[in-house]
């Protein structure tokens, strides 16, 4: 029996990895159409794209972009871990790759932040 909101049985790294993977995937899925729409502005000319880039050239949008880069890094590396579990030889929940996923998220975030600052 589990009452709603009782997550005591789910406190372990592989579960956090699942949550991170699902939430990052959902975030990226919601972002994709916006991303495509923005780039599609180029169809109406370079000026339209430039207008969009200037309109989003402010801290809130930069922060959101930074978040998306982190999500992309996390989802990619978390996905590689799942592929290794499902297609690789060997056993276990590959918790070292969970740490690696978090590491790639941090590295992608830092690299993007540094690139923004240049």
């Amino acid at each position: 029996m589990r009452r709603p909101g009782d997550f005591r049985a789910r406190q372990h790294p592989a579960y956090w990895a699942f949550l991170a993977h699902r939430l990052s995937g959902l975030g990226l899925a919601l972002f994709l159409p916006v991303h495509f729409w923005a780039l599609g502005q180029a169809l109406t000319g370079a000026d339209a794209l430039e207008d969009f880039l200037r309109a989003t050239d402010q801290p809130l949008f930069k922060f959101a972009e930074w978040g998306l880069v982190v999500l992309l890094g996390l989802h990619m590396m978390g996905g590689v871990r799942l592929l290794l579990i499902e297609f690789g030889s060997g056993t276990g929940l590959r918790k070292n790759w969970i740490a690696g996923t978090a590491g790639v998220g941090v590295v992608a975030g830092l690299a993007f932040a540094l690139a923004l600052a240049r």
Partner: protein, 238 residues
């Protein structure tokens, strides 16, 4: 060590409530000892299930402080939150009464996953020779020790989200048979375990593997089935 343990125990069926009992603490006391003490001394109508008391039969699993466990092999000292203990029936199974769940669906799913061995040889033929070093035998070995306690099934999100999902134990059993070179029902079994009620619905949360009292890895078994059934489906052989 406090002299008394405050134990909240689930009473009722799906609708019910926790009742509070004070149980004297003892050295090397197991959670099953606590439940037994309550039934013998405090609450004679308390229903629960156990048989072997030594981790062989798989009948005493309950939710202890939120996590499914064998109560017979769980020391109170290891799981008590200070001096409190919360004991509830397993999740994902209908509650019959108090701490006893109805496990029929759990075992029916083993049958649905074609968990029965099906051979073709008769007693008049020689024994099959299976090398202990072969990859198949090793894969079967890794999952064969399951005693059907239901801890993995109670831990699984996918069972909660999709009640038809066969669950980690049944799929683990199917994987051991998929690696049995003597078995002749491989295609039927793969068909039974493929898809959204079977292995492909698993999202690798790993709770089954994390909670298995025998340190089996149903996640790995299910991954093996995903591969086998996925490839068969692509090649039109499912």
């Amino acid at each position: 060590m406090d002299a008394l343990l405050k134990v909240r125990v689930w009473r009722g069926a799906r609708d019910g409530a926790f009742s509070l009992y004070d149980v004297p603490r003892q050295e090397s006391q197991t959670v099953l000892d606590v439940v037994t003490h309550i039934q013998r001394h405090l609450e004679p109508t308390l229903s629960y299930r156990y048989a072997c008391r030594v981790g062989m039969c798989g009948s005493c699993a309950m939710t202890v402080n939120g996590r499914p466990r064998w109560t017979c092999r769980t020391h109170v000292a290891k799981v008590a939150d200070g001096d409190t203990l919360e004991i509830a029936p397993l999740a994902n199974l209908p509650v019959i009464k108090d701490l006893a769940t109805d496990m029929s669906e759990f075992f029916d799913k083993w049958a649905r996953a074609r968990g029965q061995f099906q051979g073709s040889a008769t007693r008049h033929e020689p024994f099959a020779t299976v090398s202990p070093e072969s990859a198949e035998r090793q894969a079967a070995n890794a999952g064969i020790e399951c005693i059907g306690c239901g801890v993995c099934y109670a831990s699984c999100d996918v069972v909660e989200w999709r009640p038809e999902f066969l669950g980690p134990a049944a799929l683990n059993r199917a994987w051991t048979l998929a690696n049995d070179v003597r078995d002749v029902a491989q295609r039927e079994r793969l068909r039974a375990v493929a898809g959204d009620v079977g292995c492909h619905a698993c999202h690798t949360q790993g709770s089954c593997t994390e909670r298995c009292p025998k340190q089996l890895q149903p996640t790995v078994s299910i991954a093996g089935l995903k591969r086998l059934a996925g490839r068969a489906a692509i090649r039109g052989k499912l």
